[in-house]
């Protein structure tokens, strides 16, 4: 988990830094799809049954896990999504007392957030990572060169890489069940959830729903929808009864992560104006020096 002081300052410096960026920062435009598919995860409802993990494993044809999905010992360690598990449930105890004065555990489902302006897709040199119109951020191994820049870029540290494969390693992450969405089915994890903790829908409607829940039961929820503003918005949204930093959610700025780099690239390389200008300038300088050389015979030298 991030230490909060450092991450706050980090966010502060990041935001301050980006706002001092020259001219073109304003020219940047989000390419986020309007009202894409989304999921709302209500952590106060999740019972930690790990049925979603099991369903995800099944629909994605992933290998059977070392410990069965019923084995509660798995929850003892904090896990991250891997090449063979696109989603994991982690258990946190944060001092909230439940019935019988026992510490009430909180379960957190982790998977790709399907950012509205995904850093991974902006970074990918080949466009193998791409934000689809329906909201899913997909990966096409046939375009991937294996540079792993998407892993560097993702602020949630989601993509996992098949380092052990020699010829055709792939980036692995939650697909938002893209193929299922295309044929009108729910994501497998949302479909199976027995506690209604994962609600599937359209992003705008789910934000309305999330706000309604917070409004109606203010004691149950912290008034923060994680993913509404984080990194410019994500397609996966979370509600929680305890502050998100206690549950290992990264403390992130509301600016889209690709904005600074895309602004810099646009400012400098739009229509290749700066390389062209520099080329012209240097050519002029060279022409002048060469003319001077010719006027002073005997000083001319070099092969150029």
């Amino acid at each position: 988990m991030i230490t909060s002081r450092r991450s706050f300052l980090q966010v502060a410096t990041t935001v301050a830094g980006a706002s001092t960026l020259p001219v073109a920062a304003r020219a940047w435009e989000s390419r986020a799809p309007d009202n894409p598919f989304a999921c709302l995860v209500d952590l106060t409802r999740c019972i930690g049954c790990r049925k979603c993990e099991e369903a995800c494993n099944r629909v994605n044809d992933l290998p059977a896990p070392a410990q069965s999905f019923e084995d509660l010992r798995t929850l003892k360690s904090e896990r991250r999504p891997t090449t063979t598990a696109y989603t994991v449930i982690n258990r946190y105890t944060t001092g909230v007392l439940g019935s019988g004065h026992r510490q009430q555990p909180i379960y957190v489902k982790v998977q790709c957030m399907h950012c509205q302006d995904p850093a991974c897709a902006s970074a990918c040199p080949t466009g193998a990572m791409a934000k689809q119109a329906n909201g899913a951020v997909t990966y096409d191994p046939s375009q991937c060169i294996g540079c792993r820049y998407c892993l560097i870029a993702c602020p949630f540290q989601i993509p996992a890489y098949e380092y052990e494969r020699a010829l055709t390693p792939r980036v692995r992450k939650c697909t938002f069940c893209f193929e299922r969405l295309e044929v009108g089915k729910l994501p497998a994890c949302a479909a199976i959830c027995p506690a209604d903790a994962i609600v599937f829908g359209r992003r705008r409607q789910l934000l309305v729903e999330a706000k309604r829940r917070i409004r109606e039961r203010p004691a149950r929820y912290v008034s923060h929808i994680y993913g509404e503003h984080e990194v410019g918005g994500t397609s996966w949204l979370y509600l929680s009864g305890v502050p998100f930093p206690h549950l290992a959610f990264p403390n992130l700025p509301s600016q889209a992560i690709p904005r600074p780099t895309e602004s810099i690239q646009h400012a400098l390389f739009h229509n290749l104006w700066s390389p062209a200008a520099l080329f012209a300038l240097l050519a002029a300088v060279m022409a002048v020096t060469r003319r001077n050389d010719d006027e002073r015979p005997g000083t001319k030298g070099g092969e150029s």
């Binding site: 830094g17 980006a18 020699a166 690239q265 700066s274 050519a283």
Partner: protein
């Protein structure tokens, strides 16, 4: 001093060259493992640390330290200071070999090396890495074209085609030289933009949206010191005449470039209040080494005329600048990466170290071979020296 570039007639297979060969052999064996069993076999990379020293040293530092190529080309060919020509060819050679090694390192580091061509087909113009890739690839081509006259002088008569291309290229050489400088400015700076995509994962001691400017300025600043270091090493190990008459005025320019780079960097650093993050941590120490030992100290040294004029003093100052930029690139790409969920810190595996060492050895080996067979250095014949 005024001698034309010509092949040096020193014995090639010295003990040093044998040592380089041994390092290259070890790296070759490790490469077999890497390609047979994947990156996981020879590296300590994981999902939290997808880039290691191959990107930090072989690629990022490699590109920066090859900056002698475009800085001397600018000085000698564009500003027309022919006085500096004895060092432009060796600097061009180091740049060509350096970028070849960079390309090789990228090839080794890519999970799907065989698919490297795909970035040319599926272009994502928003990606900084795409732009860096295009620039580095084109620049590599330009460097070899610029080196063609030297190769053709030796082989042009035997390989007809080479001589033919050479004559064609000579007429447009000016355009290639300018293109080389432009491409260098583009990718030297964009290499800094690469990490701007990870604002929340980069340690605040290094994160700034001005990283591209700092990378460009530090590349320019390290260009001439790198030439001083290379020339110093070459004159020593090959028993050449001292190039001090060229290097001393070069060192004044180096001091100016370093001064500019440091002032801009420190100004941004303080304005961003990054100094608040300096504590006793390893990252802070690494930053101070980079800034003080590799920046402020050599700047002070270079500002002292006596140091500039002394062979040893100048060499040490230049070597410190080179060290500073090397550590800076390692810092930005490896040390600064602070993933939110790292299980353990990244420490390079033996396999990574062996391949990096082997690449540096290959670079020196090829340099040695090139100056032995091609007219690169302005050296007198051995009998003339003694």
């Amino acid at each position: 001093m005024t001698a034309e570039p010509r092949p040096v007639d020193r014995c090639f297979w010295t003990p040093g060259v044998w040592m380089l060969t041994a390092l290259m052999a070890a790296a070759a064996l490790t490469l077999i493992l890497r390609f047979a069993f994947g990156l996981g076999m020879v590296t300590n990379l994981d999902n939290a640390h997808p880039w290691g020293i191959w990107i930090g040293i072989d690629v990022a530092a490699g590109v920066a330290l090859a900056a002698g190529g475009f800085t001397t080309a600018f000085l000698g060919h564009i500003l027309g200071r022919h006085y500096y020509e004895p060092v432009t060819r060796p600097a061009l050679l180091t740049a060509a070999l350096g970028y070849t090694m960079v390309a090789f390192a990228v090839f080794v580091d890519l999970g799907r090396s065989w698919a490297i061509w795909k970035f040319l087909v599926f272009q994502n113009h928003r990606s900084v890495l795409f732009e860096v890739g295009i620039c580095v690839m084109t620049y590599l081509l330009v460097l070899w074209i610029e080196l063609l006259p030297a190769v053709a002088a030796r082989l042009g008569r035997r390989v007809r085609l080479l001589g033919w291309i050479d004559r064609g290229v000579r007429k447009t050489m000016g355009a290639f030289i300018i293109l080389g400088v432009v491409l260098s400015c583009c990718h030297q700076s964009s290499l800094g933009s690469l990490m701007v995509i990870a604002p929340t994962k980069l340690h605040p001691l290094w994160y700034t949206p001005w990283l591209p400017l700092h990378f460009l300025l530090s590349a320019i600043a390290v260009g001439f010191p790198m030439v001083v270091v290379e020339t110093g090493l070459a004159t020593r190990s090959l028993h050449l005449d001292s190039e001090m008459p060229v290097l001393v005025p070069l060192s004044r320019l180096a001091a100016a470039a370093l001064g500019v780079a440091l002032v801009v960097r420190l100004g941004d650093f303080v304005a961003r209040e990054s100094h608040l993050f300096i504590d006793g941590s390893g990252a802070s120490i690494s930053l101070l080494v980079e800034l003080v030992l590799g920046g402020v100290l050599p700047l002070i040294m270079l500002l002292i005329p006596a140091v500039r004029r002394s062979r040893g003093g100048l060499f040490v100052a230049a070597a410190l600048v080179v060290l500073g930029v090397l550590i800076n690139r390692i810092n930005v790409f490896v040390v600064a990466l602070s993933p939110p969920f790292a299980e353990h810190a990244y420490v390079p595996a033996a396999g990574e170290l062996i391949i990096t060492a082997g690449s540096v050895a290959a670079l020196m080996f090829l340099y040695r071979a090139a100056v032995t067979y091609l007219p690169i250095l302005s050296a007198r014949k051995l009998e003339e020296v003694h």
